[in-house]
Amino acid sequence: MSTVEARAGAEIVTGGPGGPAGPGAARAAVPRDAGRRVRGNTWRLLGSEVGLTFRRPRNLVMLAVLALVPAVIGVVLRTVSAGGAEGDAGAIIGAVAGNGMLLAFVSLFVLVPLLLPVAVAVVAGDAIAGEASLGTLRYLLAAPAGRTRLLAVKYVNAVVFGLAATAVVAASALVTGFALFPIGPVTLLSGSTIPVAEGMLRVLIAVAYVGAGMAALSALALAVSTLTEAPIGAIAGTVVFVILTQVLSTIPQLAVIEPYLLTSYLPRFDGALRDPVATEEMTRGLLAFAAHIAVCGSFAWARFHSRDVTS
């Protein structure tokens, strides 16, 4: 594990593996500019984490699959003439044939319920449990104030990946849409039409919103990840949660719990396709995401700090 060694090396620069226990003792021992060095090292650690994440073949394959789906949808819509599309979203899928930019929204609509969450869960669920299962967690923790910083770095890394995955979907959809379909003023769900530039802005809004939702999901996966040493358990647990909550929200008798489920806010990115933009609903969704991040994040922090790292 050469990469792990590289990271452990970065740790050693700051505090040394045999550093005294407890943040207070560390503060007394290290020189005054240690704060800046720790900060600099945090960025370096984050950089190396992000680099690792985006070099890992497994993650690259997931990004490739995510990029492939919009292309496949685009090709199918191009070759099979629209029509016979049913349901609420049927019309918008058909409308892609008239305007390629809508493919970005359709792709998000298709991927947000399962595939995007799975990709995020793989990265965020692996964060702590993966290191624990490889036995590399203790090297990463061999630094003063290590646990909080490590957790934060792992979380930011997962958030970056979630945002990147969402952006990859949108980018692939836009490229496919531009290549296969005419591009012009965009017809919104409300029936009004906006120019192309504003349409791009709406795509960005939707990507940012879904990215925020994935950040909330990352916090959840991270919390699960601190509970186990088996990364597959953390990943599966998160995915099961995503599926289960969506199943529950289809049961009419359980409509009361819907406002408390993370997944019921994820498809609200369609607010970006309304006129005016449904800021009220989307703000509500963002607040729900923030609440999930606060609760799951602090749970992960408390759990990670009180657990004995033996591997």
Binding site: A21, G22, G87, D88, A89, G90, A91, I92, G94, A95, G98, F105, F109, R138, L141, R147, T187, L189, S190, G191, S192, T193, T250, P252, Q253, A255, P267, D270, L273, R274, D275, P276, A278, E280, E281, L287, A291, A294, V295, G297, S298, F299, W301, A302, H305, S306, D308, V309
Partner: protein, 400 residues
Amino acid sequence: MPTYTRRGRIVRWGVPIAAVAVVAGAVTAGPVIAAVQGDPVLPERSAGQLLAEAVRAGQSGDVPPMSGTVVETASLGIPGLPEVTGDTGSPAALLAGSHEARVWYGDAGRVRVALPGRMSETNLIVNGDQAWLWESAGNRATRIKLPEGHAGARPTPLPSVVTPQEAATRMLAGAEEHSAVSVTNTERVANRPSYQLVLTPKDDRSLVSEIKLALDGETFVPLRFQVYAKGSLEPAFEVGYTSVTFSPPAPENFTFTPPAGAKVEEQTLGADAKRVPGGLTEEGRGEVRTVGSGWTTVVVLPAPDADTLRRQASQAQAPSSAPSSDPSPGQGEAGQAGQGEAGAGQLVAAVLDSAERVQGEWGSGRLLRTKLVTALLTDDGRLLAGAVRPEVLYEAAGRK
């Protein structure tokens, strides 16, 4: 490895617990803040004064420009009603569950109502003598022609959307004669201090226990309308603003041009009624009569018997099937009405299946009981309905 004391662990676990508490606090912040602020106190007004203010505000048409979110919740307890979720467009869906609409109100001639769905939206846009119904799910724009002489009147082609204004106007019509009316001035609706009118039926044969209407304390615009059935604490039907702003909405809200590629249709107002399965409204329009008065009013209208209804309902579900030779009224309409009606057809069939067979001196028929409305379909071809106990219907059925 840092060593952690037991105390340290307890302190650490305090953080997520605090986070949960903060989130729970934020979720319930509305009620908490309201409780801290205390009940809003508006100048006292009698029921009469308040009704007059409300009617004046409603009739003179100087309802201030506003926009907001309206939520409709119905739990009518209709037996056999298939629970439909997500299908916000169908009127049948509005009989159960909760639905949200955005409302923009410029003046009496400029209104926009939007029903958001998942990746879809239904819009009603009224601007002067122009009205458009836009359904993104069907990529269809319908230009609604208002009948001659009705220009400026509020059309209601969407039976599903009842704004608080309309609900209130209907209620105010015969209020004080049959009801005990009281007023509270400490209500808060959509975060605005409001008056609340409470009407309690004097006749205890009514299924309605009370009706509450909340009026904005400043503008007297109705903000919430609730109907409580006897024996339940939650309203059986509720429509009200969850957020409201009294400022002129952007003018773009009231302009609509059908987007390129959309199907554009024309429809004259009133043509909708023909689409009711079984042709109830169509046939019965001339012969609808009412028995009784006030809260125990029973509506009597001629109707085909249950078997015919059922047959029509199943036919509506399969519009492509060959038209039967049965000459009963409304058949043709039911056959061609198509997809939109399939939901209503299913509904009729399901509801009929759950109806209870009853008989008495007045004859025999099927009785359908819900929390709020009782309906009796007699075998001699009449439909009686009212927000009353079954006895009142039997009595009305006896009076031929």
